[in-house]
Amino acid sequence: MSERVRQRSTLGGIPAWVAVVAAVGALLIVIPIVSLATRVDWPNFAVLVTSPSSLAALALSLRTSVASTALCVLLGVPLALVLARTSFPGKRILRALILLPLVLPPVVGGIALLAAFGRRGLLGSSLETMGVSIAFSTVAVVLAQTFVALPFLVLSLEAALRAAGSRYEAVASTLGASPSSVFRRVTLPLVLPGLVTGAVLAFARALGEFGATLTFAGSLEGVTRTLPLEIYLQRETDPDAAVALALVLVVVAVVVMIVTYGRREIR
């Protein structure tokens, strides 16, 4: 006879009213998403998401998000290592500054980026004399996305590094591996799942970036108008297209959640 393990629902000792409030909280998120799906003009869905402006926005979003994710990995791995392994005065302040974009309104981030890289910005004015103009270009989109996405990668990788501890690294060094070699052959493979999670979260954040991009890069079709900007613009002229494109981003977000958190559930 095969034995069946059944997952029983229990309240686990919490008051019933807590469960009710929790349900309200969950519905606050679920209802709008479901409503969005009901508003999609399904017969014309394919046409709506494949219009030239939609495709241009989608292609630009994918290109810039991949580029900013790569930039996040390149800069975020060393940052996470410094935060997790070293000790120096002012480290707490450094961490707080790096994580600031998590709590900063993206528009403010965009204004800050303009102040730095804009035509008359702190660095921008010298770049301008060298003939380099960053603001309102595709590079600006990548910078804005990296600015808001970097903390996601740093946070999740730093947590993975702390969880892995440094004991394997110590053993590797007594086996004759130089610090660079320990990093490449031991540290990176050990924290790879954390790095993948961080990169996927950073990619998702970059893909959804709106405020900083609009402020710092503007909304030029094919150059800086990413998918979220296109959705916002279409809402005025073609609401059906906006809803269809919005659903595309929802699907991407759901896939991201399954990739990052589904795996952890299995373990």
Binding site: V171, A172, G176, A177, S181, P189, L190
Partner: protein, 241 residues
């Protein structure tokens, strides 16, 4: 290689001085918190002592707190391998690649490192485990592989931190036999709280209490005929047997 050590680690109140001839095995005996692991970390280069002078053969590994120029050789350049209480095999590598880790790092090519690894796996009677991942090993198997991994680097000095500490009582005798074979010609510092391990494996013994050496000498003499009450208690009267 002969070993000369004088090390002071103030936060851990460690202050020891001893020397060891080439090929000798030294057992460091003492209760928890006596500073045994701190001493190993200083020798391995994982801890910077406040003041120390450590010489291995003709090489000065550490010299600090003296008027002369400070010397600090990083752990990976010391030729000092550490075998911890836990095997700490790299979980992302097979058993064979774990043992080949040191030779690869020393610049051997893939095939050569592999051959060295297989030779050492044979030596510790673990040839059949070569393709396994560490999580599929028992505690005793993992510790045998860890011995092979440490020795594959051809260390000038081998450090053992409670090598039987995490093993089941049933596995420890086999491990003790293996170590007594492979340690024979090497310079070894072994930390243990078990006087029987010291008697079985060591040529010389130092007894630590609160970071200080309270007794030292040839293993049999110190263990079987202790001069201090502290050592007598620690060896629970081995000498009386």
């Amino acid at each position: 290689m002969s070993l000369d050590v004088h090390a002071v680690v103030e936060p851990d109140r460690l202050d020891v001085r001893f020397s060891l001839d080439e090929g000798e095995t030294l057992a460091v005996l003492g209760p928890n918190g006596a500073g045994k692991s701190t001493l190993l970390d200083v020798l391995a280069g994982l801890l910077r002592p406040d003041s120390a002078h450590v010489r291995l053969g003709d090489t000065t590994l550490v010299s600090t707190g003296h008027d002369a120029r400070d010397v600090w050789v990083s752990p990976h350049s010391r030729g000092v391998a550490l075998l911890a209480q836990e095997a700490l095999l790299f979980p992302h590598l097979t058993v064979r690649d774990n043992v080949a880790f040191g030779p690869r790092g020393a610049g051997r090519d893939r095939g050569e490192a592999r051959r060295i690894a297989e030779r050492w796996l044979e030596r510790v009677d673990a040839t059949g485990l070569a393709d396994r991942r560490p999580r599929r090993l028992s505690g005793g198997q993992a510790q045998r592989v860890a011995v092979a991994r440490a020795l594959a680097t051809e260390p000038k000095l081998l450090l053992l931190d409670e090598p039987f500490g995490a093993l089941d009582a049933g596995v420890a005798p086999a491990m003790r036999r293996l170590l007594s074979e492979v340690l024979a010609e090497r310079t070894v510092v072994m930390v243990t709280h078990d006087p029987l391990d010291a008697l079985a494996l060591a040529d010389r013994v130092i007894v630590l209490d609160g970071g200080r050496i309270v007794e030292q000498g040839a293993a049999r003499e110190v263990l079987l005929n202790p001069q201090t009450e502290f050592t007598r208690l620690l060896t629970f009267g081995l000498g009386a047997v």
